[in-house]
Subunit: 313 residues, 3 copies
C-alpha cells in the first residue's frame, strides 16, 4: 500500500480486515515500526482519530510527533505559482518535502469548508501532501472521505454479523450544524465492496454525491428502509446539492426506540461524536443495541493494520 488516502488504496480488503482482527487479538508486530516516525498533522479537532492512530503507531513501536498545524506551525499555501504575500508563510511544496525528511509516514486531517463544492472535491490539502511528500500519506479524514473510519466500520460489521449477508442501512439523522460528507461517503464506498445488503435512507434533498452512491438503493421512507435491518449506521450530513446547507431542523429522523423497532433488533453504529437526543436518542445509545463504543475501540486496530501495510511498503 503506497498511501491510504482513499478506499481504492486498499489492495486486498479481506486480508486487511483479517489482519486488523488478528492485531486486536494479539499485537504480533510490536517492533515493526521501531526507529520509524509517524507525523500527525491536524488542521481540525480530533479525539478518536488522534488517540487511536497515535496508539496504533505506538503498538507498532513507532515514535509519534503531533502538530496542530495552524497554531503550532506556519499557515500553509496550497496554490501553485502564487506570489506569497498573504498570511500563509509556507508552501506545501516545502512543507510536505520537509516533513518527509523527519517522518516515515505523514498523517493529515483536513476538513472541508462546505462553501465551495468544487474546491472541497479537489481535496487540495490531501492531494498537496500526496504530490509533494516523498513518504506515504495517511488520511485522518479529508474533505470528502474518512477511510480509517470506514475500515473500522467494516471490521465492526464483520465481527458482529450473525448472518452471512446482513442487511445494512445508512440513515441520515438531523444535526444543528452543517456536517461534511466524508464519513457517509467512505461508509457507502466500503459497503459497496462488502458482501452486504446495503440501503441508504434520507429525506429528499439530502442525496449524497451520485459518483459515490452509484447504484446503491436510496429509499426516502425511513421506516420502509429500516425494515429487517441487521445494522443501522446513523449519521448526519449537510446537503450536497445545496452544498453545505442544513435543509431541515425538525427531529422526525432522530433515531429512537420506535425506529429501532422496525429493524431486526439491529446493531446501531455511529462514528462519534454523537449529539444525544438529536442524532440518536438516549434510549438507543444506552441500550445493548448500541455498538458505538465497540466500534470506537476498533479504530485502533484498523489504524494499526493500515500502518503495518504502509510500513511494509
Amino acid at each position: 500500500m503506497k498511501n491510504y488516502i482513499n478506499l481504492s488504496d486498499i489492495e486486498d480488503l479481506p486480508e486487511l480486515l483479517e489482519d486488523a482482527l488478528k492485531l486486536k487479538e494479539h499485537n504480533s508486530d510490536p517492533e515493526l515500526g521501531k526507529g520509524k516516525t509517524l507525523g500527525m498533522l491536524f488542521f481540525n479537532p480530533s479525539l478518536r482519530t488522534r488517540l487511536s492512530t497515535e496508539k496504533a503507531a505506538k503498538l507498532l513501536g513507532m515514535e509519534v510527533m503531533v502538530m496542530n498545524v495552524n497554531s503550532d506551525g506556519w499557515a500553509l499555501e496550497f496554490e501553485d505559482g502564487v506570489v506569497m504575500d498573504s498570511n500563509k508563510a509556507e508552501h506545501i511544496k516545502e512543507g510536505a518535502a520537509v516533513l518527509s525528511q523527519y517522518c516515515d509516514i505523514i498523517a493529515v486531517r483536513a476538513f472541508p469548508e462546505l462553501k465551495d463544492k468544487d474546491k472541497d472535491n479537489a481535496e487540495m490539502v490531501m492531494n498537496g501532501f500526496k504530490e509533494y511528500a516523498s513518504v506515504p500519506i495517511l488520511n485522518l479524514e479529508s474533505a470528502t472521505g474518512h477511510p480509517l473510519q470506514a475500515l473500522t466500520d467494516a471490521l465492526t460489521i464483520l465481527e458482529l454479523k450473525q448472518v452471512k449477508r446482513p442487511k445494512v442501512v445508512l440513515t441520515w439523522a438531523p444535526h444543528p450544524r452543517a456536517l461534511p460528507h466524508a464519513v457517509p461517503n467512505s461508509f457507502v464506498e466500503m459497503m459497496q465492496k462488502m458482501d452486504v445488503d446495503f440501503t441508504i435512507t434520507h429525506p429528499v434533498g439530502y442525496e449524497l454525491n451520485s459518483d459515490v452512491t452509484k447504484d446503491t438503493p436510496i429509499i426516502h421512507d425511513q421506516e420502509e428502509a429500516l425494515k429487517d435491518a441487521d445494522f443501522v449506521y446513523v449519521k448526519n450530513w449537510s446537503s450536497y446539492e445545496h452544498y453545505g446547507d442544513v435543509l431541515r431542523a425538525d427531529n422526525a429522523w432522530t433515531f429512537n426506540l420506535e425506529k429501532l423497532q422496525h429493524t431486526n433488533n439491529a446493531r446501531v453504529m455511529h462514528c462519534l461524536p454523537v449529539r444525544r437526543n438529536i442524532v440518536i436518542a438516549d434510549e438507543v445509545l444506552d441500550s445493548d443495541n448500541s455498538v458505538v463504543i465497540h466500534q470506537a475501540n476498533n479504530r485502533t486496530f484498523a489504524a494499526q493494520a493500515v500502518l503495518k501495510k504502509l510500513l511494509k511498503n
Copy 2:
C-alpha cells in the same frame, strides 16, 4: 487503589509515602507500565502537574498521550438527558467510554468556575469521568481538590521534618485574582491524616469549607499562628462564603522575612506558580528557608507512586 480522585482513595498513606521516597532514591519499576497508556486531558493550563505526571508515567515505561480538550478535541457535555443542540459536540458518556478504549489510566485537570458553589462542589467533570470510564481516573486538580499536590506536600514534610511531630501552619496570602480552594482543601485533609500539629490562619471572611476544616484550629491572628512553626504553607484562595470573591487587596498578609521571624526558622512551602512580592516576598523565596523547588521536584515521585498503585490494581 481504584482511582485517585480524593485523598480518601488512599488505602495506606504511610506505605504510599514510603514507596514514593523509595522511587525518588531508585526507579525500581521501569517496566511496570510497559505497553500501558496514560491519557492526560487538560481543560486548564498546567506546568508542574503536566510535566511531572508525564515524566512519572514514562519512568514507569508507560506511553503518554496528552490532549488540551477544548482546543484539540470536542467540547464535552456533562448534563444527563439533555438535547445536545449547544456548542458541545460530545457527551461524557461516549467521551469517557471511548477514552477507556485507548488509555489504561485517564488523568483529568478541570478547574472550578468559582461562580456557583453548588455546581463546583458537584465535581461534574471528575465525577463524569469516574462514572462513565472503565479505567482508573487520576485527578490532576479538580474543582475542589488537588490530591497529587497534597501527596507531594506530605512527602516534602516527611523528608524535611527535624522533630517527630512538627508544627505546620497553612497561612492565607493575598493574590490579585480569585483562586480555587483545591490546593488548600487537599492540604488540610492531608495534614489531618498526618502526625503533625496543624493550624490554619487567614483573615476573617476567608474560612474554607467547614466540611473540610472540621475541627482543625483556625486562628485569625497570623503572627500568633506562625509562632514556633516548623513548616509554613503559604497559599491564596478566594472567599468560600462569598463564593469566589476577592475580599481584600492589601498586602498585610504577604509572607515576608518579618513573618518568617515569628516561626521556628520554618521551611516555607508553596504549590507554585507563586506571585512574588504579593504572596511571598523575594527575600523569603530566595532564602534557604524556601523549599518550593524541592517540593516541585517531589511531584514526580508522588505521581509515580500513585500511578504504580493504579497500574497494579
Copy 3:
C-alpha cells in the same frame, strides 16, 4: 558543552560538524539519552526546529516533553524584583528551576518583539533560563540568534562544496512582514568561523548589527556580490537601524533565475519557511540549484550532534 545558546558555546567546530555528518550516516548512539528527558518550550510557532529537534532527541533514546508555553502553561515574568500583579503568574526563577527538576535539557524558542532593540538584544528569555535553570539550555531560536540553524547551514556547505574554499554570499530579499535578525546573525557568525570567502549583500538601510558583521565585506550591488558565488543564502530581515521597520516593498531583490545566472551555478540555501515569488522565485526553488530540502534534513543531525554534546557534559 555547557549550553548551546550562542555559537561561542561550540568548543571545537570541525569536530562537531564531523560528528553530525557521522550521525547522518549512522545513528551510533541510540541509547545515550536513555532515561533522559528533553523539555521543549515554545513561545512561538515552529515546524522544522520543533520536529527535527524532537526527532534528534528520540534518535538518542531521549524522552521528549513539548509545551506551548503561552497556551499550555502560565505566562512567565522575567523582570527581577517586580511585584507580580500583572497577568504573568509565574516567575522565571521558579519556572526554570522547576523545569530543571523534570528535564535533563531545556530547549527554548523565543522570538524578538522587534519593537525595542535594547530589550531584544538583552535576550531576556534565553538568559533568564540560562541563569535560573540547573540543566543545559538549548536555543531553538532566540531574539538575536539561531545557532542550530547555523550549524545546519555549515553542515550543508561542508557536504556540498566542490572547492576547498567556496565563495558564499548572504543576500537580503524582500518580505511583506518584519522578520527577526536571528538567522542572518548566526549565519554571519558561522561563516566567519569557516574557511569560506564570505560576502554580505543588501540594500542600503538593511545593515545588520555591526557587532555581528565586524569586518565581513558588505556590498550594496547585489549583482556584483553574487558574481562567482558557489553558495547563495537568501534571507529577509527587517531594518536593524530603523529597528524592525520594513523599508521597501518592491521585488528588485527577489532571488530569481536572472540573479542565479550571475553566480557560479550556485547552490541556493534558505532556512525556510520561504515565501515563494517574493523571497525566491519558483523557477529557482524548483530547480536543481535549490538545496533547501537537503538543508532542512540536516537540521536533525545538527541537533543530534549538539544534544550528544550536552548529554555528555
